[in-house]
């Protein structure tokens, strides 16, 4: 699938962690409270954090505090139907890195997703 796929959420929900690892952009699969359920290889390498350090943690407060504000975290928590794309900066290994974020959430899906593209 592509980063911009309009049917992204349904497709992502159907993918196993191994399939997520094969994607060419970052994927963070979270429960509604922000707990990380899947963290793909692309994102792991870029952030410099292994999956073990990230899985079962709260993404916004423990893994990527740079997203813990109204632009990202609060949108996830406040908007039940969410498909937004925004330009952002990730501090991957402390290097300010422009990224494009896609925020995906729906009442029809069990998980919410943060997609990261450089």
């Amino acid at each position: 699938m592509d980063f911009e796929d309009t049917t992204g959420l349904a497709q992502l929900e159907a993918m196993s962690p191994q399939e997520l690892d094969e994607l060419a952009f970052g994927v963070v699969r979270m429960r509604a409270d922000g707990e990380v359920v899947a963290y793909n290889v692309w994102e792991s390498k870029m952030a410099g954090l292994s999956k073990e350090r990230v899985l079962a943690r709260n993404f916004f407060s423990e893994v990527a505090p740079c997203t813990n504000n109204y632009l990202v975290a609060e949108r996830f928590l406040n908007e039940p139907e969410l498909d937004a794309t925004l330009a952002y900066i990730f501090t991957l290994r402390m290097k300010p890195t422009p990224v494009t974020l896609r925020l995906l959430r729906s009442t029809k899906a069990n998980h919410m997703y943060l997609l990261v593209q450089r």
Partner: protein
């Protein structure tokens, strides 16, 4: 993308910096940010400020324009250019944030910037300052009250305006034991430590105490001692709030004085004599061999004065003798009018010879101090009987002995002193 394997130490360090709670960034002289932590992005983006890697100068300018060289061509001299500098910014939702900005110029091409959101701390401090201020206002406005803040050892922890105004004590009172503020020889001594124990048990204790002012006066305080407890419920301090009731005490004492005073002469009456002599008798009961001398005085031929000058003239003579007695004897002596023309003086620890001599001086003084009343001169004399006793626990017998001596003085021709 970085394809290097993730080393454990490096990863741990990364995570440590990712979670660092203060926004930190490093920028070059050209204003390019080469390193910044997640908190920096979160904070800048949250405030609606620039946060792109190329926007170092814009960030600094938005936070504190005075930190930027207007030309922006180079960084200033190396050093700490801002240390926890307070900055206020409104986020896009309109909420005001208080930031603390620290900037260190490392060299011409490197500047470290730390930004901390201290909003909750600032608000807390302001709240505290407001509370402290309103307390100050209350203490300033309190009329007729004073407040003492005490630690658990009952020492005064802070001076305030209410103490200064009512008691006159300034900042030197800080650290003083509160008990030192109480009058040591008060008629109603207060055991402050015992009151504090009570206050710990039941939360408060109330009492009246006599407080010492800076100028030596004392004031009576209707006092409530309250225990301040910490969050665990343990006593952490005491507060005394006291109302100045000196006026009420004075009125009460005046009433008592009235009950003990002969209104005509201002001397003690019989009840007053009993009240004043009681402590002397207590000393004897406590085993002290105290000598008490009694002088019983009676104006000679007083009936003739009344008959000739009327009761007004008689009263004037009684007042006249009262004044002479007050002048003649010391403050510690007890001078009383028991009724009619009968007067008594009690002296303590006075040798008989001296008691007799003072009686004789008194007799002569009256004899040579005629009263001028309504244009007339009234001359009177007095007979005096003197008696004494050691270790007395009551004075009736002594007064009786002095009376017997007085009768003899009358019988022997009046205007004389006779020892019993």
């Amino acid at each position: 993308m970085n394809d290097q394997p993730i080393a454990g130490d490096e990863e741990s360090l990364l995570q440590f910096v990712y979670q660092f709670p203060v926004a930190v960034l490093r920028m070059s002289g050209a204003g390019v940010i080469d390193l910044m932590n997640p908190r920096a992005v979160s904070l800048l983006a949250g405030l609606g400020l620039p946060f792109q890697a190329t926007q170092g100068w814009a960030i600094l300018e938005a936070l504190d324009p005075t930190l930027c060289d207007p030309v922006r061509a180079h960084l200033l001299e190396p050093g700490l250019v801002a240390e926890q500098r307070p900055v206020e910014r409104r986020d896009p939702q309109g909420r005001l944030h208080h930031l603390a900005l620290t900037a260190i110029i490392v060299n011409a091409n490197s500047c470290m910037v730390a930004i901390e959101d201290v909003t909750s701390r600032v608000l807390q401090e302001r709240q505290l300052a407001r509370e402290r201020q309103s307390l100050t206002v209350v203490l300033e406005a309190l009329q007729g009250y004073f407040v003492l803040m005490l630690d658990l050892d009952l020492r005064i922890t802070q001076p305030n305006r209410s103490i200064e105004r009512l008691l006159g004590h300034g900042s030197t009172i800080m650290g003083c034991a509160c008990s030192e503020l109480l009058r040591a020889d008060s008629s109603e001594p207060v055991d402050l430590a015992a009151k504090a124990e009570l206050a710990v048990r039941q939360g408060w204790a109330s009492f009246e105490a006599e407080y010492r002012c800076a100028d030596g006066r004392t004031i009576w305080g209707d006092t409530i001692l309250t225990t301040i407890v910490d969050s665990a419920g343990d006593p952490s301090a005491f507060v005394i709030v006291a109302r100045d009731v000196s006026e009420r005490r004075r009125r009460e004492e005046a009433l008592i004085d009235q009950a003990l005073t002969d209104p005509l002469t201002g001397l003690l009456n019989r009840r007053g004599l009993s009240a004043r002599v009681a402590p002397w008798l207590d000393e004897a009961r406590a085993g002290k061999a105290l000598t008490i001398s009694a002088l019983a005085l009676d104006i000679d031929f007083f009936k003739r004065v009344n008959d000739r000058y009327g009761h007004d003239g008689g009263d004037a003579v009684l007042r006249h003798l009262g004044q002479l007695l007050t002048k003649q004897f010391r403050r510690g002596d007890i001078v009383a009018r028991l009724g009619g023309e009968e007067f008594v003086v009690l002296l303590r620890d006075t040798p008989d010879a001296i008691a007799l001599a003072s009686a004789e001086r008194m007799r002569q003084l009256l004899e040579h101090s005629p009263l001028t009343w309504k244009g007339e001169t009234i001359s009177v004399t007095t007979s005096i009987g003197v008696a004494s006793g050691v270790g007395l626990t009551e004075v009736e017998r002594l007064l009786h002995d002095a009376d017997l001596a007085l009768y003899r003085a009358k019988a022997e021709g009046r205007n004389r002193v006779v020892a019993g």
